[in-house]
């Protein structure tokens, strides 16, 4: 229950930061995606199910205020959380390189999904422009932000929440 409350507060806090403060730090009108970092780190630290729920609720929050299709971002963020949840059992979460790689991969996929489902279907064919102008800069900026905030998420996870990862669950431990 306690960890659920903390997760809920973290989703709200990240949404607020994403919508207000992070726009101040945007470079070339590109804003890093803090919500995605949250989904990926929770997926990595707490497993597929947590990643799925965090992704679903953060996406839902975006849908409520800014989405044109209700449920669209919820769906994509949910998959982001779920996919990164697969890494939970394979990698240790105390190193920042794993979440960085995961964020790079999932942010790229996330933006491709937004492009494919909302722009390509309306006949915007210039993938190259979008790739160089939006997707790649966002991936780099988000990875950079991951280096800064992942440690904070890591500490919040281990200080304020029940430990979700059990050593015995790891596939590397001989049972």
């Amino acid at each position: 229950m306690k960890s659920k409350m903390v997760l809920f507060l973290m989703i709200i806090a990240c949404f607020l930061l994403q919508c207000t403060v992070l726009h101040v730090f945007s470079i070339g009108s590109i804003t890093p995606n803090l919500m995605l970092i949250l989904c990926v780190s929770m997926g990595l630290m707490r497993g597929r199910k947590s990643g799925l729920w965090v992704g679903f609720f953060s996406g839902l929050l975006i849908d409520l205020f800014y989405g044109s299709l209700f449920g669209f971002y919820a769906l994509i963020y949910m998959y982001v959380g779920f996919i990164s949840g697969y890494a939970c059992r394979v990698y240790y979460d105390d190193d920042v390189k794993v979440p960085m790689l995961l964020v790079a991969g999932t942010d790229f996929l996330f933006n491709l999904a937004v492009y494919g489902l909302q722009f390509l279907l309306r006949g915007r064919l210039g993938l190259g422009t979008y790739l160089y102008r939006i997707i790649i800069p966002e991936v780099f900026y988000t990875v950079f932000l991951t280096m800064i905030v992942y440690k904070a998420f890591y500490h919040i996870n281990y200080r304020f929440m029940n430990i979700a990862r059990k050593e015995s669950e790891s596939i590397w431990v001989i049972k």
Binding site: I12, F15, C19, L52, L61, Y66, R124, R133
Partner: protein
Amino acid sequence: MKNLKKKFHFRINLKSKHLLAIMTIFCVSCIAATFTSGISTAPLQETAGMIVVPFEKSINRIGSWLLSIRASFREKQELLAENEELKAEIDSLTTQNNKLIQDQTELTRLKQLYNLDEEYSDYPKVAAKIISKDPGNWYDTFMVNKGSNDGIREGNNVIAGKGLVGIVTEVGPSWCTVRSIIDDSTNVSAMTVSTSDNCVVEGDLELIDEGKLSFQQLYDQENKITVGERIVTSNISENYMEGLFIGYVSEIHQDSNNLTKTGTIVTPVDFRHLREVFIITVNKQDAIADQKGAADQSGENQEGGADEE
């Protein structure tokens, strides 16, 4: 019993794939529902708004306080502002120059323009501050700190400084979201001032960096439209009030069908540094209804109705 609970818990833990499938179906059905029948999520939005909006407002207040402190310390900022002003002046001088070169038709155009400006100031307006922006980089929507309590409704037009900014898409008690005209999914029915030819103005993400919009389907057989022409919202638009200024034509090309023209428009609004906007609290639909009522009774009724707001 405890054993059973444990078993049950264990089972759910295992089936995260199934959970994913269920949630996927849920999301897809939500998307389908909103896409086809336009089911409103207003009650959910209102509850979420009650939690989120006060925080956003206070963050915004702190932000503007910090900005004001920073502004007082920085000379560079002043210089930048001055530079911007000078640039704007150059722009306006260039357009003025363009205008002066033109001939007799200019007079009628300006007369028309004057009429439009008169109308423009007649609309009842509410000033609002932008408190948050769309989290992604793909779209251009933002939230402002006025809502239905201040008389704002869905479909209200939003302007800033000189030009059209966007349209209100969702409204809560003390907030509303605005989709700007540079958003990739926005289409505005527009017309040229001098010849009243209609065209469609579209936001285009590929042009956003240059602060431009694209326009299409301009029918201009006599090649009267030139660079520098003013584009305003058209009289046949369903969502936008007539005569709101959109921008100047910056490029114009003939289409391959030889009938219509496409090109780009420069907006006078600086969308990247937008902080305050005005929301026009009458909708186009009301204006049409008003005019009908006025035609039924007398001509002056319409103005009285507008003043009341």
